[in-house]
Symmetry: C2
Subunit: 109 residues, 2 copies
DNA sequence: TTGTTATATTGCAATATTACGATTAATAAG
DNA sequence: CTTATTAATCGTAATATTGCAATATAACAA
């Protein structure tokens, strides 16, 4: 199949999975880390920084943008990318809720 | 390709991506949430709870176990699964470091 | 207009993922 | 030993992902 049965899961579970999936590739992790460090940069900088072909970086940027985690502003022939702080915060809240779950007891099998 | 170029990324970036990837499917999110809620349960319970076929659940459990996030104990013909607290904490530290990055300034493009 | 630069899109090959039926393995019950 | 019961493994079809060459698009410069 290769296709997740999203209809049998809650909206929250699907949302968590969607965000996690986009972090599930080191290139996208690297792009985000670089954006946090540099604050804003153009696509070409990321190509140089990361070392993947331009179409590949462009594709990863598109996925991050589709989820709303970054935004891009056209500046002449370049496109300047940066973190979308509001959406990043929303994502963080969702992910933290998932990651910070606590066990009721610590008796285990 | 379908194959990530892991060699051009840092170990940290690859680790983050590996953990994120395993959370990138709603079934595995659901399994983990159920384990946190119930504390420990056998594979069959998860099959009933989630509604995917037994081999499919078994496959997802294997991936979670491979990353060390859960552990399974044989109890007769059943296998009892639970969260591996120590490894979960390590993962949480790594992911929080990534998610809680701060922007230097909020001047953006 | 013509050329240049920067990014996006298309198309495709290689590989990975998801899901499940069929089967196997392992333990327990009779 | 035979038969359930439970979970893992195997095999496979359908689909998704990754990466890049080739090409298209868009904005600017001359």
């Amino acid at each position: 199949m290769g296709l997740a049965k999203t209809e049998i899961f809650t909206e929250e579970q699907n949302k968590i999975a969607l965000f996690a999936k986009v972090f599930g590739h080191p290139a996208r992790v690297a792009i985000l880390q670089h954006l946090f460090k540099i604050n804003a940069c153009v696509c070409g900088d990321l190509v140089d920084e990361i070392g993947l072909a331009q179409p590949t970086i462009s594709q990863h940027l598109k996925e991050l943008k589709n989820l709303g985690l970054i935004k891009g502003n056209v500046e002449g022939t370049s496109v300047c990318y940066c973190i979308d702080e509001t959406n990043w915060k929303h994502m963080k809240t969702l992910m933290n809720e998932f990651l910070n779950q606590d066990l009721q007891t610590n008796s285990c099998c």
